[in-house]
């Protein structure tokens, strides 16, 4: 469905009517179901050890172990052939690495319940037992085989030296790795906390100019048109409530568009017929999940940079459609000739904020694109359609 929304001449007609919204099915927003998609970047638990069952982690372990094996092979004084030596060490160490990963994979759930020091000690003990058992098995296997006369020089001959050396090396490597995991985890926690607080700070930002001008309009209306003033106060309150919300919970497209209209009603009071908004929103998008406050700031930008500085005003076009599996929302406004007029800063901030939130929520599939051609400035949001 496509509809065009021309701003009515409210200065003459007086009170806002409820048919103001272009689509009545939209003006009663469905309450967004409580649903958190990836907006909170924190994983399920906050344990510092990564998940060793994940295929990527297994690959990492194999690589690390192989590098270590290479180091040991290189460090050996001459004697046996290098490649044989490498193969021998690799075989043993890969077994060691994979069994250790398996042990951590299965015990992670229990380890996560312990305090950090207790978890460290337990993980340490697990890995030490693992290496001791594996060394013992290897040694026994070698002795068994050599007793039967099968190639003896592939296996260690000195029992206790072999065992103690392995335990020593494992202890050092484990200590280093645990330390590394712990620090990396702290770091990522820190980064996430910072991103979250920045988003909240940006979200709560309302242009002071908009706020004070709206107050001024309301002050004027209180005498000339009290019922309009009353509605304007309610609109402003709704807008503030939305921006003050502490969570980054997504809402439905219909609710986000309702917020846009609330905002536009206030701007109309100030700008009168200088502002025209055309809506070309596909009806099928109304149930789509949208990170809240992603479209309204685009409108605010369009009006602030594209309409307000223009003597005769202009038209903002908001369109939305489904493009494959993606929702595509575009907002366009005329480009103003900034020569001698206001060069208005602040555009970047809002766009960066939206870009950051979309990429936090959808990764590579959440995108913001900006183009400028034929005298119009266009911002396009793209993100996966979800209901």
């Amino acid at each position: 469905m496509q509809f065009v929304y021309k701003q009515p001449q409210m200065l003459k007609s007086g009170a806002i009517s409820s048919n103001h919204a272009p689509d009545s099915s939209v003006s009663t927003p469905a309450q967004p179901s409580w649903r958190r998609i990836a907006f909170d970047p924190a994983p399920q638990d906050d344990f510092f050890l990564p998940d060793f069952c994940a295929p990527r982690m297994v690959l990492v372990i194999v690589l690390i172990v192989e590098l270590l094996a290479l180091t040991f092979a290189l460090a050996r004084p001459g004697g046996a052939e290098f490649l044989t030596e490498l193969a021998r060490i690799s075989l043993f160490m890969q077994w060691l690495g994979l069994t250790a990963a398996a042990a951590l994979c299965y015990s992670r759930r229990w380890l996560a319940r312990l305090s950090v020091p207790a978890a460290v000690v337990t993980a340490f003990a697990l890995l030490t037992i693992n290496v001791a058992v594996l060394s013992e098995v290897t040694f026994l296997l070698g002795r068994n085989l050599s007793e039967r006369g099968v190639s003896g020089n592939l296996f260690p001959d000195s029992h206790w030296t072999f065992l103690l050396r392995n335990v020593g090396i494992t202890t050092i490597v484990t200590a280093m790795l645990l330390r590394y995991f712990f620090v990396a985890h702290q770091w990522s926690l820190h980064v996430r906390a910072e991103a979250r607080s920045r988003i909240h700070a940006l979200q709560a930002r309302i242009r002071p100019h908009f706020f004070f001008n709206s107050m001024n309009t309301i002050a004027s209306l209180t005498r000339s048109n009290p019922s309009r003033a009353e509605e304007a106060v309610a609109d402003l309150a709704d807008l503030f409530r939305a921006t003050m919300k502490d969570s980054d919970e997504p809402s439905r497209m219909s609710a986000e568009l309702e917020l846009c209209r609330t905002y536009l009603r206030i701007e109309e009071l100030r700008l009168g017929d200088r502002m025209t908004v055309q809506w070309r929103m596909d009806e099928s998008l109304m149930l789509a999940i949208v990170p809240s406050l992603t479209i309204q700031p685009l409108l605010e930008n369009a009006i602030h940079h594209g309409i307000e500085p223009l003597d005769g005003g202009g038209t903002v076009v908001v369109s939305g459609k489904l493009n494959g599996d993606d929702v595509e929302v575009t907002v366009t406004n005329p480009v103003t000739d900034v020569t001698g007029s206001y060069i208005r800063p602040g555009n970047r901030v809002a766009l960066e904020n939206i870009r950051e939130r979309l990429s936090l929520a959808y990764g590579d599939r959440g995108r913001v694109e900006v183009t400028e051609e034929e005298g119009r400035y266009t911002v396009t949001l793209r993100f996966p359609y979800e209901e």
């Binding site: 001024n216 309009t217 004027s220 100030r270 200088r274 020569t339 001698g340 007029s341 206001y342 060069i343």
Partner: protein, 249 residues
């Protein structure tokens, strides 16, 4: 007892803001609204016509900003006093405080309005120049005001081909002829650095009106301006900068 009536001109692009100021001024004793304007340009023509004693001037308006309008108003023979109104312009407010220029914050309080109107004074061009420089959101002027006899004429900056310094004054050459203005070339070069280039100690040329750079037999460079016959000499040091500008264009 017989206090003269203060004639007030209200300038604001928002109708409700104008309406409210009109009502508040109307309620004050010895004050009378003589006109309402929606743009800076309108304010300039109405001001010379109505000769108000005070202009209530919004800073942010489409087209000509309030600060630019005030700069042009200050060149009028009977320049009115100016009180700026603003919703929120940090830099401008700081500059007003520094220059002791009166301003009102919107929504305006009646008592503050009365006080500001009573204390309103004429602003000098130099005061306003400092304010314009401090207000980072307002860029260069869009017009240059020229006084022709007692009349104020505005030359759009985009019509200006070049400025040439001539002892104490600067000559403005534009599509509609040439005029004398009271300014320094250095200040103009700074204000219009985005569109004009200094090609000589005494000449500032609009990059948009440049046609070509030429060289004569002696190796001296000249600039040709579109729709003009004369050739302007280029200073030795400015040649390279000028060539860079032309390749960029």
């Amino acid at each position: 007892m017989n206090q003269p009536v203060l004639q007030v001109l209200i300038v604001d692009d928002e109708p409700h803001a104008r309406e409210r100021l009109e009502r508040l001024v109307g309620e004050l004793p010895h004050c009378k609204v003589v006109g309402l304007c929606g743009t800076g340009l309108e304010a300039l023509t109405r001001a010379s016509e109505l000769q108000p004693s005070v202009v209530l001037l919004d800073i942010r308006m489409p087209g000509m900003s309030g600060i630019e309008a005030a700069r042009h108003l200050s060149t009028l023979p009977a320049a009115p006093a100016v009180v700026f109104t603003t919703a929120y312009d940090e830099y401008a407010m700081e500059a007003f405080d520094a220059q002791a220029i009166g301003y009102l914050l919107k929504p305006v309080r009646k008592e503050r309005l009365e006080q500001a109107l009573r204390q309103a004074g004429k602003l000098s061009a130099s005061q306003l120049k400092l304010v314009a420089a401090a207000d980072r959101e307002v860029a260069a002027r869009q017009h240059i005001a020229v006084r022709v006899r007692d009349e104020l004429r505005l030359i759009p900056v985009k019509d200006i081909q070049f400025f040439r310094a001539d002892q104490k004054y600067v000559n403005v050459y534009h599509a509609g002829g040439e005029d004398l203005i009271d300014a320094s070339l250095t200040e103009l070069a700074e204000e219009f650095s985005a569109e004009f280039s200094r090609i000589h100690r005494s000449t500032l040329v609009s990059v948009g009106h440049l046609e070509a750079v030429e060289r004569d037999q002696d190796g001296k460079h000249f600039v040709r301006i579109r729709d003009r016959d004369e050739r302007l000499p280029v200073g030795r040091r400015q040649v390279r900068e000028l060539k860079r500008l032309l390749t960029l264009r």
